[in-house]
């Protein structure tokens, strides 16, 4: 190696920082129409200024679409119990989700293609089957007010919504939601929500569920 080659090899170049990349498992089935119709939407509070309702940016995580807006759209104040949907059996839940609901021994409810249960401490746990969508690898969005990317494990990206936001569940009207952890695995979008829910508790609850 010549002196010039050595100098080149030792150059300390200011490369742009390598971004984080997140992975999603590829889906093997086609989107059922019902799943498309049941895509959730979250409008997340972001800054305050003008252009009320304007979408600043959006991104997807599993079956959820998250939009950042200047101000929250109008929504209802409903309790989590009122947000459960209609009671169903675990067998019906299994058919909706293509696999058993993560928790046994709890009453499960259906809202669209989402299956939910109310956990102790007033935490709403929901699963939404979104399998069959296109394979996707999405980047994390960092620095967003009130939204934080976290990792349940190396291959499971999740988003933590610390602030009050508007949640539009399948088949139910938009409502205000409290702190929420959302993650996606194996074609299922998982969601834990609770007023006063902390990130630490949400992660502790999520780990055995993922």
């Amino acid at each position: 190696m010549t002196e010039l080659e050595r100098a080149l090899a030792q150059l300390d170049v200011d490369w742009p920082a390598t971004p984080s990349f997140a992975y999603r498992r590829p889906q093997r089935r086609r989107w059922p129409a019902v799943a498309v119709a049941a895509v959730l939407a979250l409008a997340v509070a972001f800054a305050v200024p003008p252009a009320r309702g304007a979408i600043l940016r959006f991104f997807h995580l599993g079956g959820e679409t998250v939009e950042r807006v200047h101000s929250l759209p109008r929504a209802q104040d409903r309790t989590l119990r009122q947000s459960l949907g209609a009671p169903i059996t675990h067998e019906q839940a299994r058919q909706l989700l293509t696999r058993p609901f993560a928790l046994r021994g709890v009453q499960v409810y259906r809202s669209g293609s989402a299956v939910s249960a109310l956990l102790s401490g007033g935490v709403l746990f929901s699963e939404l089957y979104t399998g069959g969508g296109p394979v996707a690898i999405k980047k994390f969005i960092v620095g967003a007010t009130g939204v934080r990317s976290v990792e349940l494990d190396r291959a499971t990206p999740a988003y933590w919504f610390a602030d009050r936001h508007v949640y539009i569940p399948p088949t139910l009207p938009a409502r205000y939601a409290g702190s929420t952890l959302v993650w996606e695995r194996f074609g299922i979008t998982y969601r834990l929500e609770g007023r006063g829910l902390t990130l630490e508790r949400a992660i502790a609850l999520a780990r055995p569920l993922r």
Partner: protein
């Protein structure tokens, strides 16, 4: 787990294995894309899309072959496609990592300036070979040219760089 095992698991649909397989190559993938596109944002998108394509194409990856050149080929193709479809080429502008504090640093800065004055092909081959430390084989894969072309292109690029630097 060894690369071979990770490939085998990932080919059977294990997302953890795929993540573990590509993780050591993310930085290199991103930088290769950056050399091609000259843009951090384009490089990020190209690398992401390339990872997606790699996942889809993993079934065609031949067991026992080195994974990195295979992945970098996909990344380079994706980055070139993006550059082509954008219809414009951002000139890669390399910069020194820190402000010069010593005589050697000034030399580094001059060398980087000389690199930035090279024609694209020459700049790219030297970036791959010496700044990113790719082998000649890997450089050939990334550039989509024969190994002999990498050797001759490197030689000519070094000559040109020496003229500019001296």
């Amino acid at each position: 787990m060894e690369e071979r095992g990770l490939v085998s698991h990932a080919q059977r649909g294990d997302e953890h294995a795929f993540a573990a397989l590509v993780r050591p190559h993310l930085e290199m993938s991103y930088r290769v894309a950056y050399v091609i596109t000259g843009s951090a944002a384009e490089a990020e998108d190209a690398a992401q899309d390339a990872l997606l394509k790699a996942w889809r194409a993993l079934g065609r990856f031949r067991a026992g072959e080195p994974f990195r050149p295979w992945l970098l080929r996909i990344v380079a193709n994706e980055a070139r496609n993006r550059r082509r479809s954008a219809g414009r080429r951002l000139r890669l502008a390399l910069r020194a990592a820190a402000e010069p504090v010593a005589a050697d640093d000034h030399d580094s800065r001059a060398l980087i300036e000389a690199l930035n004055e090279l024609p694209e092909d020459a700049q790219a081959v030297l970036a791959y070979r010496y700044l990113l430390g790719l082998s000649e084989q890997e450089t050939a894969v990334v550039l989509g040219v024969a190994l002999g072309t990498v050797k001759s292109r490197t030689s000519r690029a070094l000559e040109r760089l020496r003229e500019l630097y001296d």
